[in-house]
Symmetry: C2
Subunit: 438 residues, 2 copies
């Protein structure tokens, strides 16, 4: 029985090698915790929706063509449903349903798992987790700057500096104005306009001739596009956003770059994408302003400006690993309680319970096992403390404790173990090392 192609299993450490889709559960946890921590630092609050939504939700937003890329089916109640391929439609649906409930602007984030039936390629998965952060109900460019700053600080939290990553910022609106100047009003047609954005979006990924041909079909010359790319000044919005980011000291992480336009149809203002500076990887994150989407999804009932970004975990994890920034596998437990003398099994279980009640992470052997095997198990679990109950000459049960980090060892009453472990944990390591038995 095999896993479906393009899906990942998340394994405990040490992660099995030889299966590219056997990923590290602890790395996933690190990424999700970091996303949550930075989002909360910015005052964003978490939300989530169902992984299964009405298919119509995606058709409304992206048209029939999206259906080809979805996991969709008809459920037992004859509903057309789809596994969510992105989070923004769910966000728009949730906000539209409860718009009056919350004071604007909303600052919401989510970490959904998303699904696309993509053709199998190296590094192209059919699911990923995506950090989504959006501000709803604020038209001021300060909101755009806040969202881009969150994106930059998220990358910084993983250890990336301005030499590693850059957020390229652009304006869909500027491109829209350019397009409307080039094309006479009589030829205005949303499908052709969207085809133009798609052509610009693919500029860096397809041969120049192909772009020129596509542009010519739309009645636009490459020279005009090239001049716009090279000479167009920042819009007032872009200027305000860049000033704000400079005030925050984050300008080393951002650059105006009109080559960015974003493929999706619904963006209306500032758009941006984050890349590694070496250009080894696909975009790490992307987003922008979509001021009309909530009106569209709510059938005109709710109209709120909005913007946000999504950052997937696949490219991010690749970049984290490529730059050597993955944290070491965490210790499985802090304390391991050995059992050598079978008559001390019950008191050991009692001690284990006592330590766990104090919120220490503790393990112990569940079946009979030789002490050296137990000790190896303790080491493999990354524990700092090994505890063993022993009987002294008078028959009294005492606890022997070894601190594997400082190499200190001591013997104490069973009732004192917790207090002594707590003390050793809070003591600075330099002072603790070399301590003899007491």
């Amino acid at each position: 029985m095999e896993r479906l192609p393009g899906f990942r299993d998340f394994y405990p450490d040490p992660v099995p090698s030889g299966d590219a889709l056997a990923w590290s559960a602890s790395l996933r946890d690190y990424i999700h915790r970091t996303w949550r921590r930075v989002a909360r630092r910015y005052g964003f609050v978490e939300y989530d929706g169902p992984p299964l939504e009405p298919l119509e939700l995606y058709k409304i937003k992206s048209g029939e063509e999206i259906v080809q890329q979805l996991y969709h089916f008809v459920d037992k109640g004859e509903r057309e449903v789809a596994l969510r391929p992105e989070m923004t439609p769910t966000l728009a649906r949730m906000v539209a349903a409860q718009a009056r409930q919350y004071k604007k602007p909303l600052k919401w984030f989510a970490i959904p798992q998303l699904f696309r039936y993509e053709r199998q390629q190296k590094g192209r998965l059919r699911e990923h987790f995506q950090f989504n952060a959006d501000i709803v109900g604020e038209a001021d460019p300060a909101a755009d700057a806040e969202v881009i700053a969150l994106l930059v600080d998220t990358l910084r939290a993983f250890g990336f500096g301005p030499a590693d990553v850059v957020v390229r910022v652009s304006s869909r609106q500027a491109w829209q104005e350019f397009y409307r100047q080039q094309v006479p009003a009589s030829a205005a047609d949303p499908a052709r306009e969207y085809a133009f954005y798609q052509a610009i979006d693919k500029l860096e990924r397809v041969p120049r001739e192909e772009t020129e041909r596509k542009l010519a079909e739309l009645g636009i010359s490459w020279d005009k596009v090239e001049a716009f790319l090279r000479t167009s000044p920042p819009t007032a919005e872009l200027h305000a956003v860049m000033e704000n980011l400079r005030t925050r000291g984050l300008d080393g992480f951002v650059a105006i770059d009109y080559r960015v336009i974003r493929g999706l149809a619904y963006y209306t203002g500032i758009v941006f994408e984050a890349f590694d500076r070496q250009g080894q990887f696909r975009a790490i994150a992307g987003g922008g302003r979509y001021d009309h989407l909530i009106r569209l999804i709510s059938g005109g009932r709710v109209d709120l400006p909005a913007l946000g970004f999504g950052m997937g975990d696949v490219v991010l994890a690749e970049l984290i690993r490529a730059r050597g920034l993955a944290p070491a596998a965490p210790a499985r437990v802090q304390v391991f309680c050995l059992v050598e003398d079978a008559s001390l099994q019950a008191p050991t279980v009692r001690l284990v319970q006592q330590l766990r009640d104090a919120d220490l992470e503790v393990d112990h052997p569940l079946g009979p096992e030789k002490p050296d095997k137990q000790f190896k198990r303790a080491r493999d679990a990354g524990v700092r403390f090994v505890v063993q109950l022993v009987r002294d000459e008078s028959g009294t049960v005492r606890a022997q404790v070894r601190d594997l980090q400082t190499r200190a060892t001591w013997t104490c009453a069973e009732s004192e173990v917790l207090a002594r472990l707590r003390e050793a944990m809070t003591r600075p390591l330099e002072l603790g090392s070399g301590e003899g038995s007491s």
Copy 2:
């Protein structure tokens, strides 16, 4: 555009009323964090698999009948796939694929979202999150006790005491032996045996006559079942498990109760279910030993004893709320920086960045807003500190800080704000209160 029936949206606080399936994202976070914390205390490590699996994985384990309850479909690659209805088959698949990689016993946990196409009923959802904890590769009853202790301590971590909840422990093996005594070998038939377990499982939920009729069809008298329920002594395994739990001081939370048998076919030994003592709710959790499942899923390649439990979030959250144990909604941020003087907007943004860089949770207005509205926003966010930059008579920019908890206020240089906030946060509250401005 509406959410699919039986699915939940998780909203930020304050959660909208009037929609029973609009749940609290912060309560979900609290439940998941508590599950993770207690699992780690016991040395369990996290894993996860895909929410979409081959349909065959569930048919192998549960037969064709399971298909009626699943969300399943044929994907674009002509594969029969299903949204996972439970986690154990995925665990068995993952362990079977990498059995040699890890030292046994494995102690693994997961928090998957699971899906069932159930008939719509009050309180019956079509998805839930489930805490799964399993030990693989240990046949000793100490493993059963460890898993039940984890279940009890998870309930304790939510604030439930022995008067609130009970884990009813039983033995599928004892029932199997009873069945085989009652039914002549010539009538042995797995389907009839399974029908017997189902009849016992439903004992408390259907009228007596119905059970008697079903038993009679299987050639078993109600009197014999009733005598077994009343007089059967604990098996040696049950005895060992109860002794172990007594040693841990957890015996107030457990009771031997042969009425528990678990509906699923694959259990082989100790089985158990957790209930609220008042009997108001469905089972909070259930589990047991399934020593043959990994062999079955791996096609005989890997044979490891295993056991575990699942605890869903729906009944648990209902019980948490019914007992008044839900935590207060957390503060959205710790600090709010007001802006009154537009010329101080940029320095405020700089201060916000400085505080966030120090991992404080900070918010500030993104657009122009009256100071009293900003202050109300700060209060709504549950902040403790309100900071405002002001110009003194000499034109120097200073920071005014209000501690809404202690009512202390003070003025300091912008560069001192972080240190002063840190100091106030670590100072015990009693000492801080009543402090005047300085």
